[in-house]
Amino acid sequence: MSPPHTAHTAHADPRLSRYDPLTRIMYFDDFDQGMNGWTCLVGNYEESLATMTRSYARHTQPMLSQITHWDSGTHGSFDGTYALKIATRPVAGERNTAIKRVTYRRAARIRMETYFAFKPEASELKLSDLDVRSVGLLFDLQDAGQRVMPHLRYLNTLNGQRMHRWQFKQRSTQFRAIGARGETVTHDHLSPQDWEDVPGAAQDLCYNEIPTKINWHYLRFDFDLEHMRWLGFQCNDQVFDCAGVDSIRMPAMPNLSCMLNLAFYCEADTAKRTFFYLDSVLLSGEF
């Protein structure tokens, strides 16, 4: 009797079987193995830390969490113990980030995939589904002519109102010179302004009923480095067409050639810490 037709090359590694990578895997970071090069996104400065934009100065280091709760113990990650955790401070409107910095060797199509979850800190015996403002990702990219920063976020809540939609942004704040040497500038591309809904933006995620229950969600984001344009994204069973969706764009900067940075971020809507968890992150390319 012949075996059923279930064989697939990805099954050789069950951890990869739940992903759809392109031809070459640039990195596959499973946080059961460690931090894998994910770190804190600090703002630019010169001579003194006081020159840093305040919103960046508030960023703290990501951590490896086994997602342990007071009522149910350790939740664990999708396929192991540890997930990358990005935590805001317990202040409404606060945000935090984690970043990984590499460069690209060919301006090809790329694909980011992850399994993620988010929750507020379980500091109240309430549903708490309106405490997290947003979670999202951004790429910071540069080719010969321009620096391009696609931003995508899931806006869960805004000022107490349930939003449940995906957004992007095409504008950043004005550049500001750092220090006196004329070598460094900054802009707050994660500022609360200028977010726009993507086409067909609405999606309800699996929040689950109390702050200590976690459900992992799949997210895929496709981008064309050659033409610096969005190709689309998918979260769980919804696929989003990104026609008309663009990125923050600016002239190329002097020392960022072939930059390929990926960052994740989250924001709190109330005075409660927001926790953004990533089980693993896979970046692949068509080259």
């Binding site: 703290t60 086994q66 342990t68 709760h69 007071w70 935590a87």
Partner: protein, 116 residues
């Protein structure tokens, strides 16, 4: 943690923050680490040079409720003073509870060096 060498990671807990009165660092999860060293570097003394602060290591079962671990360090309010505190067997969460003497204001760099 898998791997042939020991995982290690340094987290910055306070980056140029101003400490006065009673201050807590944000909770840091590090159940993967077997040992940790807190460092506090006094970058500047804004007020009360020669005074002191006491930093106590705290641990938590859930990130919500905190208790003194028993390890502490005295921080001298002097530019470029550097002090440390070592802990192990701390469970999942770590933070510093810092009591700065009245009249003392310091700007600090606090880091947490973790090793599996």
């Amino acid at each position: 943690m898998a791997g042939t060498i020991r995982n290690a990671y340094t987290a910055v807990l306070a980056r140029g923050d101003t400490w006065e009165g009673v201050v807590c660092t944000e909770p840091y999860e590090a159940a993967w680490a077997a040992e940790a060293v807190f460092f506090v570097h006094v970058m500047e003394v804004a007020q009360g040079a020669g005074g002191e602060a006491l930093a106590q290591v705290q641990i938590s079962p859930d990130g919500l409720r905190w208790v003194n671990e028993g390890t502490s360090m005295d921080i001298l309010a002097q530019k470029d003073a550097l002090c440390f505190a070592r802990v192990s067997n701390f469970g999942g969460w770590l933070r510093l509870l810092v009591s700065v003497a009245p009249g003392v204001v310091i700007q600090v760099l606090a880091t947490l060096a973790l090793k599996a």
